[in-house]
């Protein structure tokens, strides 16, 4: 379960937590005297004898705050147990019951969760007489709905997972699914949530005592101490310090522990951004260099970590279609994104040359020129367009932002382009949100906009991977069409040798961050490849064989 490394917050949480438990155990024994003794010196300010002064009956404020730790922690633990156990029982129960009951129960839970739990606790406090047990019951029961909902959500997620479905099909009884699959897989998130419940319970129990509906004198917890100190706030302002600090420390300890647990369960690898050396935005192109794109010795890597692209060099001539082929982790997308100037800021990037036209992609070229000269088409898993904006706004973005067109003209041009890539009712489509269009349509829309912006280079990163074969066919035709009609150069990323063979002029095979073989479609077609990886890749892809039988039957 993650690494066993101790982070600062984890150490802080454990130390604070253990300290508080120690206080809870020791203080009521060691400080029983000063905490309960009615001395003559009532209402004293802070002094050497009483660090935080005394209350109106002459009892030591600090001692009382420390002694109160035991009752507060005990009550909070009991409350947490009530809320968590109750929540798990209700949550799992809902998930185990039939679909009708489940629907109604979830609806009721939603309603219950919407009410402030403290108000709900007040209802219970109104029924029972104020006191230790009724506080625990009130806050604990009030916490059940939200924990039940979290449990039910987790259980629902797990019970629709493939492994539970498979277990069901195998005839595993429901109780066994709950015990073997649901509960173990919920344990970790539930533990983290339980720390939150603990912190909230402490806060709410103290709140209940604070408003006078919880613990009753002569017992006392943090909340009641704070309440008592409030009555003498003008005469004895230091008396609020003890309970306040104890409440905050307890909350902090639990929060740190919860954060540490969550971080262990779910390490979030945020790497710091890399400050790139400044470089000119534009580089002169030598007269004898006719290439549109020149990449020389490109290296991309995690700072202080592995290098993911290791010295890649290639060129793209104007109007040429070049393919980068490889499997996941080969570095093909990183290479393409470096060429497009869209590399992640967390990665280090070096190159001898990296230019598109005269734009230096190692520097910070003008956004307008980048937008006009390089178009990017991504894979479409259904999320390439902003779900809350209509297609029209997004498809005309480059025209309006970088080509200075008005909205009307831009829409008109895009509408025409959509019609050219065989999209029905193009004007209508511009008024729709992305989710109303199919994946193939969205991809053709993306291509259509590049017909209008006429970039010099299109960088296409697995543009047909998420599509069905017939749709892929249509999308590839549109790429070919742009190339034919406008002579646009392309850098085409794919893992599919068949696709690149049909579309591209040159094919670069990448493996582990390096180009291992440079091919032409003809050589690929005649299987004239040399590098063992290319051979393996070619053999790995079965080819549909529809050739007539050649005697061998």
């Amino acid at each position: 379960m993650g690494s066993g490394r101790w982070t600062a917050s984890m150490i802080g949480g454990v130390v604070l937590g253990l300290g508080l438990v120690a206080v809870a155990v020791v203080a009521p024994i060691a400080l029983a005297g000063p905490a309960a003794q009615l001395s003559g010196d009532a209402g004293q300010g802070p002094g050497p004898e009483h660090l935080l002064g005394t209350d109106n009956l002459g009892r030591d404020n600090l001692a009382r705050a420390l002694v109160a730790t035991r009752l507060t922690l005990l009550m909070t633990t009991a409350t947490t147990v009530v809320a968590v156990v109750g929540g798990i029982v209700v949550g799992v129960g809902i998930w185990l019951s039939g679909p009708r009951v489940r629907k109604v129960a979830l609806r009721l839970l939603e309603t219950a969760v919407a009410y402030p739990s403290l108000v709900f606790a007040l209802v219970i406090a109104a029924i029972l007489r104020p006191g230790v047990v009724s506080s625990v019951v009130a806050i604990g029961v009030a916490g059940i709905p939200s924990f039940a909902r979290l449990t039910a959500n987790l259980a629902a997620k797990i019970s629709t997972s493939d492994y539970v479905t498979t277990a069901r099909l195998l005839g595993v009884p429901t109780w066994a699914i709950a015990v073997r699959h649901t509960l173990p897989n919920m344990a970790e998130p539930l533990l983290i949530l339980a720390t939150t419940v603990f912190a909230l319970s402490m806060v709410e129990l103290s709140a209940l005592s604070f408003i006078g509906l919880g613990v009753q004198s002569p017992s006392y917890d943090f909340g009641l101490l704070l309440n008592e100190s409030l009555t003498q706030i003008y005469t004895q302002p230091t008396s609020v310090v003890g309970p306040s600090i104890m409440i905050v420390l307890t909350g902090l300890a639990v929060m740190l522990l919860g954060d540490a647990l969550a971080a262990r369960a779910n390490p979030r690898g945020v790497r710091p951004a890399v400050r790139r050396p400044s470089a000119p935005a534009v580089v002169p192109v030598p007269a004898d260099d006719g290439a549109l794109v020149r990449v020389g010795n490109l290296r991309v890597g995690v700072p202080g970590g592995p290098e993911l692209v290791r010295g890649v060099s290639f060129t793209i001539e104007p109007g040429e279609v070049v393919a980068l082929v490889g499997e996941s982790g080969s570095g093909k997308s990183l290479t393409a994104m470096s060429v497009a100037g869209l590399q992640s800021e967390e990665l280090e990037m070096h190159a001898d040359v990296l230019r598109v036209g005269e734009l230096n992609m190692l520097g910070q070229p003008d956004a307008g020129r980048l937008g006009r000269e390089i178009a990017v088409v991504y894979q479409d898993p259904g999320s390439t367009f902003n779900p809350s904006l209509r297609m029209g706004v997004q498809l005309t973005e480059v025209l309006r932002s970088h080509l200075g067109m008005g909205s009307g003209r831009a829409r008109k041009l895009v509408t025409e382009a959509l019609a050219r890539v065989n999209i029905s009712e193009p004007a209508q489509r511009l008024r729709q949100h992305p989710h109303k269009l199919s994946g193939g349509m969205r991809q053709r829309c993306m291509i259509a906009t590049t017909m209008v912006t006429t970039p010099k280079l299109i960088v296409a990163d697995e543009p047909t991977t998420a599509l069905d074969v017939t749709v892929q066919h249509e999308v590839l035709r549109q790429f070919r069409r742009i190339h034919r009609e406008q002579g646009t150069a392309m850098l085409f990323i794919s893992h599919d040798l068949g696709v690149v063979e049909a579309l591209c002029d040159r094919i670069l095979v990448m493996k582990e961050g390096e180009i291992v073989e440079r091919l032409t479609p003809d050589r690929l077609r005649s299987r004239d490849v040399h590098h063992p990886y290319t051979k393996a890749l070619m053999e790995a892809v079965p080819v549909v064989d529809v050739a007539p039988l050649q005697g061998s039957a």
């Binding site: 493939d162 099909l169 173990p184």
Partner: protein, 255 residues
């Protein structure tokens, strides 16, 4: 010889939307049948209906000649075990908190699920998918995607089913890993007693693996037959379009 699986006039709808319309499929004994079609064609729904994840509105599912819906609950549960289902995603098909041995033991004995009781069968199943016996005590996160898919295959095989339904099991994998799985399935076909219903959108993989193919389009079957016959001489327009869309095939043109 009785077919391993036969569906008769199967209709399935989600709400008011029909997903399967009058589907009649036959999987003969000891045969691998490919089920091809594009997204939304209903091929996955058909697989899920056969194993009982979806319920048909109308029609029959016969396993080895017996109607699954016409028998007693007890009998149906026994019949269900003869049809094993392998889902697409190897990362969600294995419970992260159970060892491989426990997962396989649960398939053999759903109630007690103790690996120690079935060590021999489990080791044998793991050997079939070319994993060593030590895998038994490991957890899914210790394996790669391709290895997990093998474990899922082992879980299906360990109960010695009559029919294995593999639902796009190579689609989430890299091509070289996909090739390994295809090679494994090919070698298993030779030794295995069970029939295979291989659901895929990849026509080439189906050709490499299956004798028969069923082509689905918009919830209906448009064509079925021997793979070589269908691919060489498709009768239906949709099959033709589908075949011509595969890069490298004869009808594939971009201009």
């Amino acid at each position: 010889m009785t077919a391993t699986l036969e569906t008769r006039g199967l209709h399935v709808s989600f709400g008011r939307t029909p997903v399967l319309r009058d589907v009649n499929v036959t999987v003969p004994a000891h045969t691998a049948v490919g089920l091809v079609g594009e997204s939304g064609s209903g091929k996955s729904t058909l697989g899920k209906t056969v194993v009982g994840i979806n319920t048909p509105r109308q029609g029959q599912v016969l396993v080895h000649g017996e109607d699954v819906f016409a028998v007693s609950r007890r009998r149906r549960a026994a019949m269900r075990r003869q049809v094993q289902y392998i889902p697409q995603d190897p990362f969600s098909s294995l419970s992260p908190r159970r060892t491989v041995g426990q997962t396989l033991a649960e398939a053999l004995d759903p109630v007690r699920a103790r690996p120690a009781d079935h060590e021999e069968a489990i080791v044998h199943a793991l050997e079939q998918v070319r994993l060593d016996a030590g895998a038994m005590r490991k957890y899914p996160h210790q394996f790669s995607g391709g290895q997990r898919q093998r474990i899922a295959i082992a879980r299906a095989l360990v109960v010695q089913p009559r029919l294995v339904i593999a639902d796009e099991i190579t689609s989430a994998l890299d091509v070289s890993v996909q090739a390994e799985i295809v090679a494994l399935l090919r070698s298993l076909e030779r030794t295995m007693e069970a029939s295979l219903l291989f659901i895929s959108h990849n026509l080439a993989v189906v050709q490499a693996l299956c004798e028969h193919v069923v082509v689905m389009y918009r919830g209906a079957i448009v064509e079925q037959g021997r793979v070589d016959d269908v691919y060489r001489d498709p009768k239906h327009d949709y099959t033709r379009t589908l075949l011509a869309s595969v890069p490298g095939s004869e009808g594939f043109h971009l201009d």
